[in-house]
């Protein structure tokens, strides 16, 4: 079920009503309702995939309980690895089976050995990479004694399948989300209104920015041979705002929807395109995945290899970025994208001696300094270059795209629908303006500093109108669903 669909527009008020008016006095009933609603939400795509979530839930719940009563370290380790193998086994099979098989076949054929391919027609369950990482973090934290294992199966099931963030995050930690299922949630107007504001901004980013940018990004990337260099560069910029609007828009809707039910999810994006270097970018982009990879991949690796000196840190950082790339998709293009960011990150550490710029851009002034503007533009260009590999279907497509940018003539961008594209560019500037002005707030539409109700009302009505006017003719799914 997509957030910007009629199905969800009917589903959400029904669940909201049942949650606050029918089940409001019974915490267990509220949690059970969340589990049921989440299974309906997920089953809307394909009921068969529910079995994977339910199996993962059962495995991690049981392992958590066993870990609580187990003191023998070797047995604890076996239990943790059982969870890792089961969860990553599912992920590996559904997401990476054909990728690894194809590469093995190619590697053997390189050495003159022909193997009969036996690839399977596997459908990727929506959001499997997200909920797998979420459940894994629970078991690892329990194993590390950082979290008390739960004895409430319904609460744990709700934590695993909580519908607002189930299919595209934020990837929540059990230490933040699980305890919220133990406590009575209280409905407050302020929190619900904040939730609605965040949903509105998320819809604007998804429907107006991302979906319209997608039209041009798709047109230009799919027919790159027909366009000149500046048009191709514009295509990459459209893609940069498609991905940002799409994914951060989803996160805003997820966080806003959670607020409607009395929950607080972690912030997932913090104006990443205003980052002054790549290190800062990764503190502001997909924060929940970065912190997950930091805690469960980078830190254990870097600790184990800390006595290798610089090599230990460098290889741990680079490996973590490769994993990040592979997490995004079973394709060499994503691995190259991850490797590029790994390189960017290491070069940035070298030049800055590991110092991320302090605070936020324009910390003590209205406008950013010239130096900051230069840093932001450079960081954005580096990110855009990596997006070429994020967007293309194959490495050869990526290299051909770059070659075309370098070799074609440099005239004014020329493509169909330039007038609408100009409108979209103006809307992107509007997006950047609002996000810059609101950069110090937890969410963009926190307009509490404007005392006048009419100012706020004008903003809300304008956004609703923009969403209606620019609703795309073709329904676009969320980019991150494929991950």
């Amino acid at each position: 079920m997509l957030f910007h669909s009629l199905d969800f527009a009917i589903f959400l008020p029904i669940v909201f009503f049942l949650y606050w008016f029918v089940a409001k006095k019974n915490l267990k009933l509220q949690n059970a309702l969340i589990v049921t609603a989440s299974y309906v939400f997920y089953g809307w795509w394909d009921w068969r995939f529910l079995s994977l979530i339910i199996f993962s839930t059962l495995v991690d719940y049981s392992i958590g309980r066993r870990l609580k009563n187990e003191e023998k370290q070797s047995t604890r380790k076996i239990l943790m690895w059982t969870s890792i193998i089961v969860n990553l086994g599912f992920l590996g099979f559904f997401k990476y089976y054909n990728f690894f098989l194809d590469n093995f076949i190619a590697a053997f054929s390189f050495f003159g050995q022909e193997i009969q391919p036996n690839t399977l027609n596997i459908i990727l369950p929506v959001g499997i990479s997200f909920y797998t990482f979420q459940t894994l973090s629970y078991t690892i934290d329990v194993y590390r004694n950082k979290l008390e294992p739960t004895e409430d199966f319904i609460a744990f099931s709700a934590f695993v399948c909580f519908f607002p963030q189930l299919v595209a995050g934020p990837i929540e930690r059990a230490s933040n989300l699980l305890p919220q299922f133990y406590k009575k949630r209280i409905f407050t107007y302020e929190k619900s209104a904040d939730g609605m504001r965040q949903i509105l901004w998320g819809l604007f980013k998804k429907v107006v920015i991302a979906d319209n940018c997608a039209e041009y990004a798709n047109l230009i990337f799919n027919n790159y041979g027909d366009y000149n260099g500046p048009t191709l560069i514009l295509g990459v910029i459209f893609f940069a705002f498609q991905v940002y609007g799409d994914f951060s828009g989803y996160s805003d809707i997820a966080i806003g929807t959670s607020k409607l039910f009395g929950f607080n999810l972690m912030q997932n994006f913090a104006t990443p395109y205003f980052s002054r270097n790549i290190m800062e970018f990764w503190k502001r982009w997909h924060i929940s995945l970065t912190s997950w990879l930091t805690d469960y991949v980078f830190t254990p690796l870097a600790i184990n290899y800390r006595h290798w000196g610089t090599m230990g840190i460098v290889s741990s950082i680079f490996f973590t970025f490769l994993i990040s790339g592979l997490w995004h998709g079973a394709n060499w293009t994503f691995i190259v994208w991850g490797a590029l960011h790994g390189l960017y990150f290491l070069i940035t550490i070298l030049f800055t001696r590991g110092k991320t710029p302090k605070g936020i851009v324009g910390q003590n002034s209205v406008l950013p300094s010239l130096k900051e503007i230069g840093q932001i533009v450079l960081t954005f260009l580096l990110v855009c270059f990596s997006y070429i590999f994020f967007r293309v279907d194959s490495l050869s497509h990526g290299f051909a795209f770059i070659s075309r940018v370098c070799k074609s003539d440099w005239n004014f961008p020329d493509f169909e629908g330039r007038l609408l594209a100009l409108q979209i560019i103006i809307l992107i500037v509007f997006l950047l303006f609002v996000e810059y002005a609101q950069r110090n707030y937890d969410f963009t539409l926190d307009l509490s500093r404007f005392r006048s109700k009419s100012v706020r009302l004008v903003v809300y009505i304008s956004l609703v109108l923009l969403i209606i006017i620019y609703w795309p003719s073709k329904e676009q799914v969320f980019v991150y669903f494929q991950f």
């Binding site: 184990n304 800390r306 590991g354 110092k355």
Partner: protein, 94 residues
């Protein structure tokens, strides 16, 4: 500043903890390049902007060098605050 190496000094007394804390202040200021750092038992990574995951590894290495000790990986990952780091150092030196 040289920390005393006499084994008998390393009892989990308030004085020992204070001495280690002073030493850790120096290590943290040096690694994180911030002279304003002043640690307490309850200080956590979120309290110091420069204390990120990469600098954390450098801090561990410098602490191990200074006290000529070696922590276990699980021990390092269990630390929640400075107080727990000091506990680990004292355990290693006792």
């Amino acid at each position: 500043m040289n920390f005393p190496t006499n084994k008998h000094l390393f009892k989990n007394s308030k004085m020992t903890r204070d001495l280690i804390k002073v030493e850790l202040d120096i290590v943290f200021r040096d690694v994180l390049d911030d002279d304003s750092i002043s640690l307490s038992d309850s200080t956590v990574a979120e309290d110091i902007e420069e204390w990120d995951s990469i600098n954390h590894i450098q801090l561990v290495v410098q602490i191990e060098k200074r006290y000529k000790i070696r922590f276990k990986a699980a021990e390092i990952q269990s630390w929640e605050n400075i107080g727990e780091i000091i506990d680990s150092i004292i355990r290693k030196l006792e």
